[in-house]
């Protein structure tokens, strides 16, 4: 009898939840974001052929100035959010660097590509949770060598919307699972990263 009333109560609760509006309207169909601006992260490089690995901890507040390995370069990202909440988008970046030392030259060309899909949940007009999954592919061609590192990316940004829903502050927990790595010296290195980063988001 007691079990039956529990089941009834659960059914009533489910019906009550179903009667609520499922979600608030998405704040805009286009999202432009500045991501991985600063935060805390732990990255680890592993060699699948038994070589030594390397661990790195990075703490940044308001800026990123030091180098290091991992995927968290500050970037601009664009997503399209369908009315039902599904989103598609990604980030793209290109970098070119030349160091002209007194007795040597050093050049790097780097590309970052991070396609992704997600689902924008907006439980309240000022709060959104946006679980996403995607890939992060990076390649850098240096003087005399090339390095490619790739990861499966899981992230769940929490967006605090401000200013009539146009602009939001984003706190993003993320995990990058390194599944592929290749460079001219260590052919089986992978890089994974776990962290929380801060960024900004605007919906149009």
């Amino acid at each position: 009898m007691q079990r039956l009333s529990l089941v009834r109560s659960a059914c009533v609760a489910c019906l009550a939840l179903a009667a609520q509006p499922a979600r608030a309207e998405p704040p805009g169909n286009w999202s432009v974001a500045i991501e991985r601006l600063f935060g805390i992260s732990r990255a680890w490089l592993r060699s699948n052929d038994g070589g030594p690995g390397e661990d790195q901890t990075s703490v940044s507040v308001f800026t990123q100035h030091q180098g290091g390995f991992g995927y968290s370069a500050p970037r601009v990202a664009v997503d399209y959010v369908l009315d039902l909440g599904l989103s598609f988008g990604g980030a793209f970046g290109f970098g070119k660097y030349r160091a002209d030392y007194a007795y040597d030259d050093y050049r790097i060309n780097a590309v970052l590509l991070a396609p992704r899909a997600g689902y924008l949940l907006t439980p309240t007009p000022t709060l959104a949770i946006w679980p996403r999954v995607g890939l992060t592919l990076t390649t850098s061609v240096r003087t005399g060598s090339e390095e490619d590192v790739s990861a499966l990316t899981f992230e769940a940004p929490v967006v605090f919307l401000l200013r009539k829903h146009v602009v939001g502050l984003t706190v993003t927990p993320y995990f990058e699972y390194g599944f592929s790595g290749l460079d001219d010296y260590s052919p089986y290195n992978t890089v994974s990263e776990l962290g929380v980063s801060i960024g900004g988001n605007a919906f149009f």
Binding site: I34, L37, F38, E54, D55, Q56, T57, S58, V59, S60, V61, F62, T63, Q64, H65, Q66, G67, G68, A73, P74, R75, V76, A91, F92, G93, F94, G95, K96, Y97, R98, A99, D100, Y101, A102, I108, A110, L112, T138, S140, L162, R163, K164, V166, V167, G200, A202, F204
Partner: protein, 235 residues
């Protein structure tokens, strides 16, 4: 490799800093007088926001109050590092170009940073950027501090476009346990961001030419110039 002596180039940089300061001051004064003369003219086309009942609210003509921005996000930089060597002055050059992501190594003063400013009603702005980044690896640690106070003038010469000449200082303090090196650089920073205002003039896209002129005093002289992109929210 440079040919001029180290002291000559330091003196030239001081002169360059003075000259650019005069130009920036002149531009700010011109902007101030222009704004003053415009203030006397009646506003004829202020943007309005109206609700369904026809109640209209005049939107502010120019941003004022606090702004929070992300600056030097990506773009082009040219960095020159000069130091005295055993065979005379040694000059090293670093060029970097980034599009949509800052992926390449950082040289000089520029790194993506959070900045906050207060904009007074008459256009004067006061603010700056502060940042810290520390990296720890096995047997290695490195820290960097960036502090960049500044003052400027927001010249809102069109409803959607403004110029924001700014002058200030940039301190860059780096410490590296790996090779026990430390670097402490101070520069005069002159910036002239072009601000494109969107989203009800609350969001500004910045296209920012700048120079960071290293001040003499350290073992190394570090100068930088470039054009970077940023974004600012006006509250």
């Amino acid at each position: 490799m440079g040919t001029a002596s180290f002291d000559d180039r330091r003196w030239w940089r001081v002169r360059e800093a003075r000259w650019l300061s005069v130009v920036a001051l002149g531009a700010a004064l011109a902007a101030f007088s222009e704004r003053d003369s415009r203030a006397a003219e009646p506003e004829t086309s202020s943007p309005q926001r109206c609700d369904a009942d026809g109640n209209c609210q005049v939107l502010p003509a120019a941003p004022s109050g606090f702004s929070l921005g992300v600056e030097r996000l990506f773009g082009q930089t040219w960095v020159v590092r000069s130091r005295d060597g055993t065979d005379g002055s040694i000059e090293e050059n670093f060029d970097s170009f980034n599009l949509f992501a800052a992926q390449t190594p950082h040289e000089g003063y520029s790194s993506p940073r959070l900045a906050a400013d207060y904009l007074f009603d008459f256009g004067l702005t006061l603010g700056g950027a502060l940042g810290y980044h520390g990296v720890r690896r096995d047997g290695y640690s490195a820290d960097a501090w960036v502090l960049a106070p500044r003052a400027g003038y927001f010249w809102h010469f069109s409803r959607w476009v403004g110029l924001w000449p700014r002058a200030g200082l940039t301190w860059l303090i780096q410490h590296d346990d790996g090779d026990s090196s430390a670097e402490d650089e101070l520069a005069v920073s002159l910036e002239l961001p072009l601000v494109i205002l969107v989203a009800q003039q609350r969001l500004g896209l910045l296209l920012e030419p700048y120079v960071d002129i290293g001040l003499p005093g350290g073992a190394v002289d570090l100068d930088e110039r470039g054009v970077q992109v940023g974004v600012t929210v006006f509250f």
